[in-house]
Symmetry: C2
Subunit: 206 residues, 2 copies
């Protein structure tokens, strides 16, 4: 494995996915380069030209010259060939199913509300942003309900063992109360979150 | 390969990704089951309990009892072990990078505007929806600009050959003019779209 450097924002649970996946796999990140997204540090000309043209964080740097954006892609790179990605064709696709679900149907709601309420502060939001909170709450709760129902008969999301799908979903689920979500409504999600913390190599979001 | 049934909505370019991937791979879908999302046919109790708890389309049914939601996961299932998914660890992750980019940074803008303007009709939109059009236009154009720049030195998105990343990005890119995007501003995207149509097994969105 080449040297790994994480272009990082400590608060971001998308960034945490990569730190958690690496730790669960026993991999050491050589460095973490911290950016303050509130100060626009991922939108500078240098960042856009060198690290990620999409201006987003995280990016996993692999060796000197390879930059891999998208948390799900970076987790897949780290976990490829390990127990965190099933070799079975259908199970591999199901892992990706939940990772796409997370990015499309959960993170835009749970992640945005956490960022707004726990980082920016509700007093900084525009009128439109404030008005959008109930709909984001509804969508985030709908995603948590789907996760809770799925976990009613399973210990983990796919193949009844820990995979990168769990890593991806855990990141924003376990801190969703910071965005105003009540996890006591989703007891299977709560129990699964507890289960994740008991995995060898688990690290908390710092 | 078990029998494949696509739970489908003909207008949806997310559904088209699966039809296109199957055709490029020479796979035959045994059946297409059509749903009218405007009539709520993917939100019925039966659909939610049997096909997809998330109430979304497409879903790839594999055999009698396995239902795989998320277009990217379904494309990965179909293409696993074929030339459309590189075996190289980094290239495989880069394919997923662009598929996550598509779902997070492109489809929510290009897909929504196409659905609103070409299917629902602008006269049916709420005031909030109409007000959100300029921002969605800006975000969609930003994604097209990133794609255009990436394609300035490449024929395809990853590994200089056709992969499921191209299938995923092509779906909404080639019909983005239906959502009011001007592809003449993105000549590398235009040339790449033309290149896709020349691939053996290509089928148009019907």
């Amino acid at each position: 494995m080449p040297d790994l450097i994480l272009h990082d924002y400590a608060f971001s649970a998308n960034c945490y996915k990569i730190r958690l996946a690496a730790s669960l796999l026993g991999l050491t990140l050589k460095d973490r380069v911290e950016y303050d997204v509130l100060k626009g540090e991922t939108r500078t000309p240098e960042y856009l030209s060198k690290v990620n043209a999409n201006g987003r964080i995280p990016v996993l740097q692999i060796g000197d010259d390879t930059f891999l954006p998208e948390s799900g892609a970076a987790c897949h790179y780290l976990a490829d060939g390990t127990d965190l990605i099933p070799t079975d064709r259908l199970q591999h696709a199901q892992v990706l199913q939940w990772m796409f679900f997370e990015q499309y149907s959960f993170e835009p709601y749970a992640g945005t509300l956490r960022f707004w309420l726990a980082k920016k502060g509700i007093e900084t939001l525009t009128a439109e942003q404030k008005e959008s909170i109930p709909e984001k709450r509804k969508q985030g709760e709908a995603a948590l309900a789907i996760m809770d129902d799925h976990l009613s008969t399973r210990k983990f999301f796919v193949a009844d063992k820990l995979t990168v799908a769990d890593v991806a979903l855990y990141a924003y689920a376990h801190v969703s109360p910071q965005g105003g979500f009540d996890l006591s409504k989703f007891p299977n999600v709560q129990a699964w979150c507890e289960r994740i913390t008991q995995q060898p190599g688990y690290i908390a979001l710092d």
